[in-house]
């Protein structure tokens, strides 16, 4: 592909901004991650020697625990988000009149514009000791300050973002599935549920994959939700990074965790995309 001079000129501002605000800061983080940190200082000294220590210390079962926990809770929240978001999208796309469809989509978009802190503190008030926590934990037979309930509230916090995003992502996909296909299946004797699960859902797999990847990526980088609702017991990798940078001032270690997290996220996302596209969509 050969670009004309005009096209190159048009690309320059965008590429310049990307270089200045994404590539250079990222390069700075990579460079910092290889610097030796002297405890008690604020970040690495300018002439600090290079080292692999910041990465080596992460080769530890406990740090693997944080990465696995972040992915596990993110995976559960993303799947639940899809399960809850799909019917919402389906009803809006297929059952609503055009007016109600607009109202429904507007409502979903409106939820996404709610302030993060408002959402999270609303959840904390509702599911905390001043809300329905005692009733709910009594019903579930668990402790209000126990691990299970804390994880549950964190997942609810994540779902607050994920359900509208998943629903909005799936709207277009569902609208693009030709309803005559399910009608044909039903005309040939398939029950409604079978037509839905064998026709509609498989045809929505690309949209489901997109919605899952968006949800999962948001979960991996979630910071405020686990910080406020996790009670310091459910910590995501982003919380470790924050602690390194803002509380301990160990920038090199924080940078190393950030780079590992970035690589793992890319790996997971490309892995899932590859698996689904090669094993499912092609067949």
């Amino acid at each position: 592909m050969k670009l004309s001079r005009g096209a190159i000129l048009l690309l320059v501002p965008g590429v310049g901004i990307l270089l200045a605000f994404l590539v250079l800061p990222l390069a700075n983080v990579v460079e910092e991650s290889f610097r030796l940190f002297e405890p008690g200082r604020i970040g690495a000294a300018k002439d600090a020697p290079y080292t692999f220590f910041n990465y080596a210390e992460l080769i530890n079962v406990t740090y693997l625990y944080y990465f696995v926990e972040t992915a596990r809770i993110g995976f559960i929240a993303s799947i639940v988000g899809l399960i809850l978001g799909f019917p919402i999208a389906y009803v809006i796309a297929r059952r609503f009149t055009p007016v109600w469809r607009k109202i429904g989509v507007g409502f979903l978009i409106g939820i996404m514009f709610l302030s993060t802190l408002v959402r999270v503190y609303a959840l904390q008030l509702t599911f905390g000791p001043t809300g329905i926590a005692k009733f709910l934990t009594g019903l579930l037979g668990v402790s209000m300050n126990g691990r299970f309930y804390t994880e549950l509230v964190v997942i609810l916090g994540l779902l607050h973002y994920l359900v509208p995003i998943a629903a909005i992502t799936l709207l277009g996909t569902i609208q693009n599935v030709n309803p005559r296909l399910t009608e044909a299946a039903q005309a040939l004797g398939a029950p409604r549920w079978m037509a839905h699960f064998t026709i509609t859902i498989p045809l929505c797999v690309p949209g489901l994959l997109s919605a899952f990847l968006i949800s999962f990526t948001l979960c991996l980088s979630a910071f405020v939700v686990p910080m406020i609702l996790g009670k310091g017991k459910v910590l995501f990798v982003s919380n470790l990074i924050y602690s390194r940078f803002s509380e301990i001032a160990n920038y090199p270690s924080g940078s190393a965790i950030s780079i590992i997290m970035l690589l793992l996220s890319l790996l997971i996302i490309y892995g899932v995309t590859y698996l689904v596209t090669t094993r499912w969509i092609k067949h």
């Binding site: 405890p39 604020i42 000791p129 310091g232 470790l240």
Partner: protein, 357 residues
């Protein structure tokens, strides 16, 4: 006569006006701002409420307030990121962070000429650099200790081993290592024969505590502490006197003289003028104003810390120790060592403790 004002005229006028404003007013605004406004970093309530009150009474300049977020040391990366032009003149902090600031060369030297009220403060409380220069302006001294809410706590706490009582399931609010510079684990270590140089007994104790399920929340900031105790989510914690002043609706019993296993760590809080400040004179003047006898007494009333001005009166009985009580209950830790070890201790907490919670 009709006046013709086209859209093009409007755009021209707006552009010209904007250019004039951009080229002429900003330098004046900036210089006026730098000369007249003081930028002060302080804690949330009750500190900020007290500081605003004294700021108004002082009245020599406008003060722009910034609140600390997270642990005391969380201001350091912000200063570092903006050095040599951090947007702060004066920072309220405490013993271990003063040492970090001195180590980085950020703390301006202070003399009696700058702050005459320092003459009424014991010199031993002032942080010094290697050459003996004064580097901060102490305002109060207080303790970090265990406390509990008898109304909500299922048991009476008489010694540190009571923390392991199964009746306390989910009842303990444990500070993360960045709060109190991890003195809470030093307290556990001391109870089992260790200290800040030998922390293994403390970590073993904390592992038992985490595995017991008694830790209901890990606090990351002062509002966590106040909210958790006020809502009865938890009922036992290890906390500093100033933060406790924010707990209004819950009666607390402070375990400062209950048992020798429950230690009180004494620290100094106060001001540090940044060496980068363009408003040093104003910053020293305001700091000096806050440590007068009257304002020190007001500080005690508002914040609850013991004022360091020797002429100021106070009545905080649980932090008033006789010489015998001092020997039994009071610890003045090696702050410099705590500051250096904090990174390792934070990692240790992440590795050994959090997975057990």
């Amino acid at each position: 006569m009709s006046i013709k004002f086209t859209r093009r005229d409007l755009l021209k006028t707006a552009a010209a006006g904007g250019t004039v404003a951009a080229t002429s007013s900003f330098p004046f605004i900036n210089s006026a701002h730098a000369a007249e406004a003081l930028s002060v970093v302080d804690w949330g309530p009750p500190w900020i409420d007290h500081a605003k009150k004294t700021g108004e009474a002082w009245g020599k300049a406008e003060i722009n307030w910034t609140l600390h977020s997270g642990g005391a040391a969380s201001i350091l990366p912000k200063i570092k990121a903006a050095w040599p032009n951090p947007p702060y003149d004066l920072v309220d902090n405490w013993s271990p962070v003063f040492l970090s600031m001195v180590r980085e060369g950020w703390a301006e030297t202070v003399t009696l000429d700058d702050c005459p009220n320092l003459a009424n403060i014991p010199e031993g409380l002032i942080t010094k650099d290697a050459d003996g220069n004064w580097k901060n302006i102490p305002r109060g001294t207080a303790g970090v200790f265990f406390t509990y809410a008898p109304e909500n706590c299922p048991i009476e706490i008489k010694s540190i081993d009571d923390l392991l009582d199964p009746a306390l399931k989910g009842q303990i609010l444990w500070p993360n290592p960045t709060l109190n510079t991890n003195l809470q684990v030093v307290a556990l270590a001391k109870a089992r024969g260790g200290d800040e140089y030998n922390m293994e007994p403390g970590w073993e104790f904390l592992k038992e505590l985490a595995a017991s399920g008694n830790i209901g929340r890990v606090s990351a900031n002062t509002s966590d502490v106040i909210t958790s105790l006020e809502t009865a989510e938890t009922s036992v914690t290890f906390v500093d006197q100033g933060t406790l002043s924010g707990v209004k609706g819950t009666e607390l019993i402070h375990l400062t003289k209950t048992d020798p296993t429950l230690k009180t760590f004494v620290f100094v809080s106060g001001w540090c003028v940044l060496s980068s400040s363009k408003n040093k004179e104003l910053a020293f003047d305001y700091a000096n104003f806050t440590i007068s006898k009257e304002n020190s007494e007001l500080y005690y009333q508002d914040v609850g810390e013991v004022p360091v001005n020797i002429n100021a009166e106070h009545d905080i009985q649980h932090l008033r120790f006789s010489p015998e009580e001092t020997d039994a209950y009071v610890v003045i830790p090696d702050w410099d060592h705590l500051g250096v070890e904090l990174d390792n201790w934070n990692k240790r907490f992440e590795k050994d403790i959090v997975p057990l919670l």
